[in-house]
Every structure is written in C-alpha cells, then in structure tokens.
Point group: C3
Chain length 153, copies 3
C-alpha cells in the first residue's frame, strides 16, 4: 500500500464559492503513482464542504441560493418565510454568542458533507462523465485548508 498526502489552501474572494478541484485531485493521484485505490478529499474546516456535481454555472448558482434558504445566514435578511422559519429560535445562532457570525456555514457543511472518496482505477479518477469535484466554501476570505489523501498500489 502506498500513501500520498497533499494539502491545498483556499482563500476565496467571495464569502461563498464553489471552486473546481478535479485537476488537483487527479494531479495528486498522478504524483502518487498508484494504479488502484482511492482518494479521500476532505475539507479541514467546519464551515466548508466538498461536492461532486456538475460544472454548470446555473446549477451552482441555484444551489448557493437554495442553501441560503435551508441553512439561512443571520448576517443578511432571510430570503423568505421558509428561511425565516428555519433560522434559530433565539433570534440568532447560540453559536454567535462568542462573536462568530458563521453559524449558517456550519449547517451548510452538514448538508453538503465535508468530504468525498474518489475511486482510482487503472491510474485514473474513476468518475462519471459529468462528475466534477468542488471545494465548497461557505465562509471564505481567509485561508482554509483541504487534504487530499491517496491510498493504493
């Protein structure tokens, strides 16, 4: 068994952003030299996620809008009644009592999940034709780390 570990740091301009990282994952596999195995791609922060989906701008924008309804931020007006009802009942996140304002990003981390595992077959990422890997930033504007761990032979 061979292991290869790569770290990537993101500092997005926007507070929320999908960053395509398929090539970073493929590069880590190429560097590792493995032919068969898997790659774990995992955010090292509690306010970010990793999503495998379509690299199509419309669905990415749809998804950020939708996540703001399901997991509403308290630093801007709720998008509508549902977002308002899904907001914390004390009026703001209990989490914000310590001075934070990113409670919604913790919830988005929960919904999106913070990691994926990509199979490696014959030395290549074994993804379907439309599957792209995205780092999903929900509280950007500062350095955030991601680990890419390749295991195989």
């Amino acid at each position: 068994m061979f292991a290869h570990t790569v770290y990537r740091t993101f500092n997005t301009d926007r507070r929320r952003e999908f960053v395509r990282i398929t090539d970073d994952v493929a590069d880590a596999v190429a560097e590792s030299g493995i032919r068969e195995g898997m790659v774990l791609v995992s955010a090292m922060h509690i306010t970010a996620g990793v999503w495998i989906n379509d690299d199509e701008p419309g669905i990415l924008e749809d998804t950020l809008e939708w996540l703001d309804k399901l997991a509403p931020p308290s630093w801007k007006e709720p998008a509508n009644e549902v977002a308002s009802d899904l907001s914390p009942d004390p009026g703001d996140f209990r989490h914000h009592r310590g001075g934070e304002d990113n409670g919604d990003a913790h919830w988005k981390n929960l919904l999106v999940h913070h990691q994926v595992v990509v199979p490696v077959t014959s030395g290549r990422l074994d993804l379907g034709p439309w599957q792209a890997v995205f780092y999903a930033e929900f509280d950007g504007g500062r350095d955030k780390r991601l680990v890419i761990k390749v295991l195989g032979e």
Copy 2:
C-alpha cells in the same frame, strides 16, 4: 492490498426509485476474496445517490415525498408552500436554461450524498442488522452507472 472493481447499470422504470443493492455489494466483496478492508459504493451520476437505511417500504415512500418538498422539482406543482418557497427564485432552475428539467435531482444528490463506504470484516459486509444499501435514483428512465470498488486484503 487487493482491488476489485464492479460496475452496475440501472435503468429504472420510474423517475425516482430506491433500488436495494446490498447483495450486489456483498457479491463484489465475495468475488474479491478479501477478508479485511472496505467497499466504496458510489453513483457515477450527478442526479443519483446511495443511501444506507431501512428496507421498509413506508420510510422509503415517506422519504421520496419529503425530498420533493426539500428539493422541489419544477416539472410538477410544488407540494405545498414550503416546496414553493424552496424552489429557485428566478421561477425555474437557472440550470434548466440549457433544456434540462432535473435540477431537483442535483439537489437530492446533495442531500442524500452520492456514496457510502462499507467496512469489510472477516470477509463480510460489516453492517448493522437494519442497514441495507440502496441506489437512489432521482432522474431515471435511462442508463445510469454505479461503481463498487473493493479494497483490502
């Protein structure tokens, strides 16, 4: 380390459907001959998922109904006010500008997650007594692939 890769293709009659695949996963492990390791079970499409839960028809029907409220399709009437409020604000998915109508299936992929990892212990799937593995189709009626990747020794 030993690797064994199996692909399965699904073409469901219904647009949305849970298909039990526990035996497919167990068969892949048996074919691999490993005693200790893990199996990655991963949808190769961006409009499907994999869920480990109860093989009880009631909860599966409850869940499909609920997913249509949380991640509402635009090709049928919203189930209620919440589904209407969670729909995209432009009136339809931005994703549909290219002629698609499956934006909701991308969101269901996000909620359900597209993959699971099942531990293998003493040559068997190390699942709890009620855990069954399901392929979760959200945009069926055409060929969709799933990869089962066994790794271990």
Copy 3:
C-alpha cells in the same frame, strides 16, 4: 496493509444527543499502529449519524433545533409552519404503521450522513484545528453500535 476494527456501544440518556468521540477514533488508530491510512467511523444504525464539526455547545444546540424543523418528529408538536409542512402528508409517517415513532430519526440520518472517513498521517488523525468527531444519536435510550475501522500501514 493492516486492519483494526473497534466497536463502540452508546446508550444515551437523552433521545437526541451529540457525543464527542474524537478520542475513541484516535485510540483506535494508536492501537492499530499504522502511520499512514484512513479510519472509517460509521454508525451501524439507521437512526444515527456521524458528524465532524465544532465542539461548541451553541452550534450543537442550534443544530438539534434546526434538524427538528427540517426533519420533524411526529411525537411532538411541529416547531412551526415549516416543520408542519415538511411532515409526512398522510398525517404521520407511513413508517409508523408498524408501531415505530422514529421516522424523523431516519431523515436526520440522511441529512447528517451516517459516516465519515478520517485521514491518518504520520500516525495521527489528520484533522483541522476545529474538527471534532461526533456520534449523532437521534433515537437514543437503547444500545446503539458504531464501528471504527482503521486501514493502513
């Protein structure tokens, strides 16, 4: 490749509870003796999850409240209009026809996801500074099992 498997049983006092298990996972890795690899941490029940997030009481309480809106129990009054609208349309879960009352816990399992994979680098859990591992109980008060599977070298 080396494999090490540990089972943990939880019997929480409260019906819903986050139980921090980072040390259990780290102990399993230490016992295994591996330096490089990964650990799968997976609930063996269909009404529990595993979440990696912040060990901060506010966000954990926020999250349990929020999950009760997104995945509303039928054994207590819906928290508000949204929770009421997201409840099953037959009036109660179809799943409850068999005498169960934990349909909401199956949905919370779906949202939180029942497992995580933690990378192991240089013999240690390769987590970010704020990442803690939690067993997420959604239907407690009875024995529930979790498997921790370490793989590596």
